[in-house]
């Protein structure tokens, strides 16, 4: 056990050099990096918070847009349905009136043809009657003089 003065002085010089080295070349770069990282973490946290807020905002805006789109789509579908129904109704009405018209046209045709046939028949029956009467009378009857009589007869048939 001995305290050696030269060793103490020597150690103190070595210690001074070590402290100087630590102070100049070890401490500053590492603490600087630590501070930088701290600042980056602070920034990162702030950015994350901002991002989260933006996300919430965007998602709420998205929801709103979606809701609006859905409503609009429903309106469009409803309008389209209504229009389709109207079109069907219109078509049905058109078809009904067309049908009525065709039926009426057919009907009137039939009536007209029946009337024509009746007229023709009447005429033929009148002619037959005249021919018959002329044969029966066995004399010449002026067809021209008796045309009025024959037409009257035909109308009665």
């Amino acid at each position: 056990m001995q305290a050696s003065i030269p060793s103490i002085v020597g150690q103190m010089i070595v210690f001074a050099i070590f402290v100087w080295f630590t102070m100049k070349f070890v401490w500053p770069p590492i603490t600087k990096a630590l501070d930088e990282r701290r600042a980056r973490i602070v920034d990162g946290l702030a950015a994350a918070e901002k991002g989260q807020k933006a996300l919430i905002e965007a998602s709420s805006r998205g929801d709103e847009t979606l809701r609006a789109a859905r409503t609009q789509a429903q309106e469009i579908v409803a309008a389209a349905n209504k229009q389709a129904t109207q079109m069907v109704e219109q078509a049905r009405a058109d078809a009904e009136s067309e049908k009525a018209r065709i039926v009426a046209a057919g009907h009137s045709e039939v009536v007209r043809e029946v009337t024509q046939a009746k007229d023709a028949l009447r005429k033929q029956v009148g002619e037959l009657a005249v021919a018959g009467a002329s044969k029966i009378l066995k004399r010449e009857i002026n067809a021209g003089a008796h045309a009025e009589l024959i037409a009257e007869l035909a109308a009665k048939v």
Binding site: Q2, I5, P6, V14, T22, M23, V26, W27, A33
Partner: protein, 269 residues
Amino acid sequence: MSAESGAAKTPAEYVSHHLMHLTSNHDAGFVSMTNWHIDTLVFSTVLGLIFLTLFRIAAVRVTSGVPGKLQNFVEVIIEFVDNSVKDSFKGDRSFVAPFALTIFCWVFLWNCMDLVPVDLLPLFSEHVLGLEHLRVVPSADMSATFALSLSVFFFIFWYSFKSKGVVGFAKEFLTHPFGAKLLPFNIILNTVEYLAKPLSLALRLFGNLYAGELIFILIALLPWWAQVIPGMGWMIFHILVVTLQAFIFMTLTIVYLSMANENHDAEHH
């Protein structure tokens, strides 16, 4: 921890052989003006260089992004020291914090040398290098511990002068704590108080590590089969001592420098 070299010697010779320094001279006095403790100087310098190299590598490769393992380790120590300083030292830490870091790491590495088996390096140096004595634990040498505590002592005055001025310091030294009328008592008390700081710093560390080394030497005197359990127990306990003593030395340094840095006059007014 072999007792092999002790076989040829008596236990007393073995122990005293272990407690001799590798010196430049053969001065056996308690305080030597001529002896260089070469072993202490070499081991402490090498350990200090290990510390500086490791930390310098980390400082060169430092990144504020994702740190590597070495940087992580270094950052943990630096943050721990910086927080210790921040807690008590008010003011510019650009000197005190690196100062405290150097003390902590250096003393820690010194103390770690106590965990190397006591006979390993002395036997190697004796048989391979032909050196008669070797003590490998720098903190078990008063020269090393006093070198640190005297440096701290110097900076206590440095910070006292800086915060109070030479006149303010002299005034406080002469009139504190009993007032100007009891000037001699103030001088005695303050002298004791100031001297107690470097003495207690150096002797606490030295005492702990010297005692630790001595117990390892005594355990090494036991027969080999009886060494295991006490050796292991003391080793485990010593892991605590090694760290604790380095921490205590650093913390007290910070406390002393903070006290020196406080301006009592400014606080009272």
